[in-house]
């Protein structure tokens, strides 16, 4: 079976769920090898989810620069191992790594895949999910980024042989130095693009204070909080939580849209969510077209009632 390199996403030493999804996906097209860049990462889940080999590049210098070091490590491994493909999670930085790697390798790149077939053709939902495309890299080693939540993570224990990798960084990889990392996100909630459940608020939330009920509902479900552009433009919720055409694209198992009308701007960021629940006082709101379950009414009575009911059921 041909080797598939999977770049590992991690934070605070923990492998992220999206990487386990990628390893599972990689098993369907070849034999996955995990590539860990950074120190202190617990590699045990990687073996558990099917990594036959775990390449570990843990020189401290690797995390001092923007994107470049990851490209250097992957380019070196591709040159040495000639894998059939390289998979990277489709985060903002993951896509940059993939793009630079593709240029370095003179290979094609596909971003935001939601599936990969045995022949390495990739499925993408484009134009905000309105069109489904199958594409294939025709030159070089395919570099494919895969969206979080697009396929399940299923364990299948493998050897997980750890192979240390050392890399002499190129000058260009060291061109942009990270001098400080600032953690601004209030803790506790999952990342928006990775979350299994997203609870969002829009214009109907009415103001900054109104997001309190949205956050409380999200916390009762262990969900991330999102916002429509109307809400972020008004300054009611921080811009980085915007879901939509100019914000983040999410495809969680469950999306709960509260007080969001469902303009194309917003739909483009969430319409491939598996299950969609809508609360809106306007029965004509286009968001209802996407709803698996919709309630016409006031979110300020419905959402707190829902939160209370969830807490009751969870005991």
């Amino acid at each position: 079976m041909s080797e598939i390199l999977v770049l590992v996403d991690h934070s605070d030493g923990t492998v992220k769920k999206v990487t386990l999804e990628l390893l599972t996906l990689a098993r369907s097209v070849g034999e996955p090898s995990a590539v860990v860049i950074g120190s202190g990462v617990d590699t045990q889940p990687l073996a558990e989810y099917g990594a036959a080999t775990i390449y570990v590049a843990d020189d401290g210098e690797l995390s001092d620069y923007v994107v470049g070091p990851k490209v250097d490590v992957l380019a070196q491994l591709v040159a040495e191992k000639s894998p059939a493909a390289v998979l990277v999670s489709s985060t903002a930085e993951g896509k940059e790594v993939a793009g630079r790697l593709a240029v370095r390798l003179d290979s094609g790149v596909i971003t935001d895949a939601v599936g990969i077939a045995e022949d390495l053709s990739a499925t993408q939902n484009i134009f905000g999910g309105a069109v489904i495309v199958t594409s294939k890299v025709t030159t070089g080693t395919p570099v494919i980024t895969v969206r979080p939540n697009s396929s399940p993570a299923e364990p299948a224990p493998a050897a997980g042989t750890v192979v240390p990798v050392s890399v002499v960084l190129s000058e260009s990889a060291k061109a942009a130095r990270i001098t400080n990392r600032v953690v601004a996100q209030a803790g506790g909630r999952p990342e928006l693009t990775e979350a299994a459940i997203v609870v969002s608020g829009g214009r109907g939330v009415g103001g900054e204070d109104g997001f309190g009920v949205i956050e409380t509902l999200a916390d009762s479900l262990g969900a991330a909080v999102g916002a429509s552009r109307a809400a972020t433009d008004a300054g009611w919720y921080p811009h980085q939580y915007q879901v939509g055409q100019t914000g983040k694209t999410v495809a969680p198992q469950l999306y709960i849209a509260n007080g969001i009308s469902g303009a194309i701007q917003h739909r483009a960021g969430m319409q491939t969510s598996k299950t969609i629940v809508v609360v809106n006082k306007d029965p004509e709101a286009p968001i209802f077209e996407l709803a698996d379950f919709g309630v016409v009414g006031d979110l300020f009575t419905i959402v707190p009632q829902l939160t209370e009911e969830i807490q009751k059921r969870k005991g």
């Binding site: 470049g68 630079r100 593709a102 094609g108 294939k136 890299v137 100019t246 309630v295 016409v296 009911e309």
Partner: protein, 259 residues
């Protein structure tokens, strides 16, 4: 300082976008072309930086004839001149080819900064700035929500999933800026009049020093095999709140095993 700002003409953000049946590329005719919204922040940032530090702004685009409108819009906002890379052979170029052409055109022109919007609202790959940095071997200062330039050095706040990173580099550098880094200005009447007289250089693929066999649909490093429209979603349940709407949602979530 000399700043290139790369802008792209895209179908209007609010319009439904399509692929053409003929060659599976974006249908650029069925919707009005506008400047990619996120590029407006790039133009504004370039203008503010030159207003504070002196210098000139060159608006650069690659695209068909009508993409000149987007360079013109940047000139109306205040950019000094434009470069329009236009050539029939570019039709269907992927990100790899686009970054190749842009980097060839932008190299060796003495730019201190090359500024992009963080992504285009049509392709949404968000990779071209990083690719151009890779090709030019210059610092990649992308996803900036704050940019400070001091002589030959640049500092940005790079937006991350968890907050931001402070990043430093020496110029020349490639920068991409995120939405809301600034408030893009509207072209003034004076700006619109002045823009009519500002020069736009057109550059062909040959003039850019790129082999025409390396660009366009035929040379793409990846290809679209097939596409289809997402089937409309089956109608769900829609109820009026009778005072128990929250409980009903909880029941539904419970049936679906979310709680």
């Amino acid at each position: 300082m000399k700043i290139a700002v790369c802008v792209k003409q895209v179908p209007d953000t609010w319009a439904e976008k399509k692929l053409t049946d003929a060659d599976k590329t974006l249908d650029r005719e069925s919707a009005d072309g506008v400047m990619n919204e996120l590029d407006e922040y790039a133009v504004e940032e370039a203008l503010q930086l030159t207003e504070a530090n002196g210098g000139e702004v060159v608006a650069v685009t690659m695209g068909p004839e009508k993409a000149e409108e987007t360079v013109r819009k940047a000139l109306q906002m205040g950019a000094d001149s434009g470069i329009h890379i236009v050539d029939d052979s570019l039709h269907g170029s992927d990100a790899i080819a686009t970054s190749l052409v842009l980097s060839k055109v932008l190299a060796d022109k003495g730019f201190d900064l090359i500024i992009f919007g963080s992504e285009s609202t049509d392709a949404r790959m968000s990779v071209v700035p990083a690719m151009v940095a890779e090709r030019l071997g210059v610092p990649q200062m992308t996803f900036a929500n704050k940019v400070e330039v001091d002589g030959g050095s640049i500092k940005i706040q790079r937006q991350t999933e968890y907050g931001y990173d402070e990043v430093e580099a020496a110029t020349p550098a490639v920068v991409s800026v995120v939405e809301k880094i600034n408030e893009p200005r509207y072209p003034s009447f004076k700006g619109i009049m002045a823009a009519k007289k500002k020069p736009i250089d057109t550059v062909t693929v040959a003039e850019a020093g790129v082999d025409a066999g390396k660009v366009g649909l035929g040379a793409a490093w990846s290809e679209v095999e097939e596409f289809s429209e997402r089937p409309p979603k089956a109608a769900g349940v829609k109820i009026e709140d009778d005072g128990s709407g929250g409980v009903k949602i909880a029941e539904y979530l419970s049936e679906q095993k979310f709680i």
